[in-house]
Subunit: 286 residues, 2 copies
């Protein structure tokens, strides 16, 4: 039966008990509103550890004013039932006050993989994510932590900060789970109208096509521009970026880099109706 805790001290008692019986621990950080994408990360975590903890915290510091903090979907009871059915031992659901007590003064920030892409459009985002993920990792000190590849830049940022700060946890990326038509699963898909839902898969289709074109030798910058036009023509209200990048540093790749076999990722983000969607893929395996 899944246990729920809301304080760091009770969480640490649970961790201590696990450690005393020699168990390996995995952490899957989430903001709740769990769908099959999250549950697949849980399954991946179980393959690497004896006990799985899932954190549920809608982190206010990674939302800018005017973003969807207040309307972000919340369903703790439903989430708990799903996690229990998947064999999760611990739901770590702290309050904002437990995470950010009076006088809280510390920020973890990055350049490197945190520069550009999401940062250009959500400048607060990775500052908030890097700080809260550092806290979650240090609260649990898990052997492994699993993050979805759907938030690919976030995964690279977290991998980098974990190495840079010597956090003794292995970061594992879990593949993006998709609807049958290719749309990446996301809690925000619930915001889409019926008409928008029909347009949404074009993001994945367009990123795939851009990746294929770049692999075939087309200029990456021209390919990105063309993809943006296609997405706008398909009905997206705004495209923040389509970007053909190095898979780890996220630096832009040239045709020569791609020809030389550099690790590659195609990333895209845009707004459909009022909902911001992101996706990414490795065109060599997509």
């Amino acid at each position: 039966m899944i246990e729920t805790t809301r304080t760091v001290s009770t969480l640490r008692s649970w961790v201590k008990t696990c450690r005393q019986s020699g168990k390996r621990i995995a952490l899957v950080p989430t903001m709740g509103a769990l769908h099959e994408g999250h549950l697949t990360l849980v399954d991946l975590a179980r393959r690497h550890a004896d006990e799985v903890a899932v954190s549920l915290f809608v982190n206010p510091t990674q939302f800018a004013p005017g973003e969807d903090l207040d309307r972000y979907p919340r369903d703790e009871q439903g989430d708990r039932a799903k996690l229990d059915a998947r064999g999760v031992s611990m739901l770590w659901a702290p309050t904002p006050d437990e995470m950010y007590p009076d006088g809280f003064s510390t920020t973890v920030s990055l350049d490197g993989p945190a520069l550009g892409l999401e940062t250009d459009h959500r400048p607060h985002f990775f500052g908030g994510v890097a700080t809260v993920v550092t806290k979650l990792l240090l609260q649990v000190l898990p052997d492994v932590a699993v993050f979805g590849e759907k938030d690919y830049q976030q995964l690279q940022v977290i991998s980098r900060l974990t190495r840079d700060l010597d956090i003794p946890t292995q970061i594992i990326g879990g593949s993006t789970i998709r609807e049958p038509d290719g749309l990446a699963m996301s809690s925000r898909n619930a915001y889409l109208s019926k008409e928008e839902r029909q347009v949404a898969p074009v993001l994945n289709i367009t990123l795939k096509a851009a990746g294929r074109a770049a692999l075939a030798g087309d200029d990456p910058r021209t390919t990105e521009t063309k993809a943006i036009s296609q997405l706008l023509a398909a009905g997206f209200a705004r495209i923040d970026y389509v970007a053909i990048r190095h898979a780890e540093s996220l630096a832009p790749l040239t045709s020569a880099d791609i020809k030389a076999g550099q690790p590659m990722r195609v990333l895209g983000a845009g707004v459909l109706g009022k909902t911001r969607l992101i996706d990414n893929l490795d065109p060599r395996s997509a």
Copy 2:
């Protein structure tokens, strides 16, 4: 016999061995050039743990260009002998490349106690300190870590970041060790000429007098200004600050705050010849 290690992986093997035999670990971070002040911190650390590790790392990121990074005193062999005689088990002496490998991208920063005072005069300082101390704490994951009260603002910054990031280590402050004439021991005292060495104790004497005046009801801001004049008259080339502050938040105190018994600290920093000296004290116990 003291062991020396230069890689995180060998350090962690040592930590693991200690943990397997149920030993408590203390860490004393230093930049080397050890004097009796450091060794007193080591003795304090031994009272809280079974094994003491001392780190020796002259952290380049907390020196600004033009500061004394290159001429900062270094004597690893002498330091090791002193620590061995004091019963230290592990000297953790990483290279800059081990601490900051290629692609390093992460910074830990603070507002709160990091605002003002040292930050006004060494803007890079606490960014460098907060990041390297986070790394050292996470490399060793000690039960306790000991820092000198001589760098009082640094101690408050480290206490704050340790709580904020949920680092599972207790931070302990060790009293400042002084020469018979009251000068706080410091590696930088070695830079002082014979004449400067005679003037140096005036810093401590002046801070004490300022604290007494503020406790007696004198206005703190006026008292600070008077103390600065006295230090300049005594021969200091520059005074960065004399400050009467809350002992934890380091916010300025009013006469009413002091009368109400708020925790208090008097801090000062200035340049004598070419050497920057700092000191601080609790006027209620000095």
